[in-house]
Amino acid sequence: MKTKKKSVKTKKSMKTEKKSIMARIAESTKSVTTGVEEKDIKHWLTIYIMGKAYKVPAVLTIMQAMEYAGYKFLRSCGCRAGFCGACSTVYRKKGEYRLQTAMACQTRVEDGMYLVQIPFAPAEKVTYDIDKEDYSASVFLKYYPEIARCVSCNTCTKACPQDLEVMDYVQASLKGDFSSVAEDSFDCIQCGLCAIRCPAEIVHYNLAQLGRRMYGKYGMPEPEHLKKRLGEIKSAKFEKELRKLVNTRRKELEKIYTGRDMEKE
């Protein structure tokens, strides 16, 4: 262990370390198919990316398949793990009328998919001062009046790659039921596919965010532990320790950091 730490000290090795971080990031954003020999791939299928046919290995996600076909993502790709909501895909399958949606990083390619990425859902995000808003249904109608046009067709719910009951939370907003808006939309990754499909032109995910913020501020009971901790901070309980940290040198800080007590899982 000691020798390893020593090697970090030299300027040269610092550089290689830096480089290796960059290399690791580059690595992590590369398609996982890199380095796989084509002759080793047994199953192939055909997908159509914006109308053009490509033969791709059958085991890939939509995102990997597009990269395999030669696309490089500048947008429409972020976490590659189903969390960031950047990789919205719209597709149809050969011989099927149904328009489907998916997150490209989370969905396996299927034979005959006609694919296109939707890197951004055009929508206005309103600004408001949460301290000045009424905790009632009127706040939703004030900023997103188009919710009153919801015809309960459920298209948004069908489009949601997170399997949320999107229509239910839009309807809950009309009733001023903040807790349902917040809870039903909690797993939203704001991919925007609901808003792209809605015939009433509602921007569900922004509405939901307003709902969660309002609920967080006015509806949810204040957690006891947070109240206690805020009180401690206010009464300067941690001031001395914090000062000490501020005045600690970097190397010492690193040692403290790596040696810290981890919270048990």
Binding site: S152, Q171, K175
Partner: protein, 292 residues
Amino acid sequence: MKLSYYPGCTLKTNAKNFEDSAIAVLKTLGVELVELPRWNCCGTVYSLASDDLIHKLAPIRNLIRVKEQGEDRLVTLCAMCYNTLKRANIFVKKDKESRDKMNDLMDREKINYEGDVKVFHILELLRDEIGFDEIGKKVKRKFNGFKVAPYYGCLLLRPEEAGIDDMENPTLLENLFNSLGVETVDFPYKNECCGAYQTVNKVDLVVQRTYTIINYAKKLGADMVVTSCPLCEFNLDRRQEEVKKKFPDFEGLPVLYFTQIMGLAFGLDKKSLRFDLNYINPEPLLKDKKLL
């Protein structure tokens, strides 16, 4: 008795006094309203175009929710919701082809809807199932020298297939008040239009209607107008402010829901009747009449 209950958005926002008082009154009568889970908008206005199926999805989806509960009846309070749900239900019952199309559109629902839920209004429940005699037995308070003008609006009466009473001369509210020992005036404007949704963009029109209706009730010696519809209530109650501006001689009257009157008659706690939400405060009058 437990009943599946559809509130609608107005009863959760502007007409909370209607909902709270109705729940309290029905509890006294041994009926528990069980709010339908996951209910959505009723559709607001029934679409008259028979091929406009998308605007009929909302009401039918609610009826699917009723079936999901293993129930086959749904009671409503709001006259607008009642009217829309009832008519959409009649439509799908009659028109199998449209019904199939709509079920196809709602392919995520586990139940294919066949038109087999009975939609009814709280006033029908009071008249046909509980009965005015039973209601009369619960009365604890006497109304002396107190007259109300019953006001039906249109949505409980028209069209005939959705009407709960004679559309030209309804008497349901009069009979109800009779059983409560509350005197009514013979009110020719009881099914006159309140202006309905014109209240959104033609306030003047509603102001004119409200002026005529309220003034006439007053002329007949009514102490208040009693309604069953949240939209009528809004127009007749809330718009009196604008009426006063336009007609300085206008004196106005309080407007209550019939369930609030029932609550008074049953001697229920004032808190559950929510007079604080009526725009023209009825409390001074009620105190004056020794009803509070």
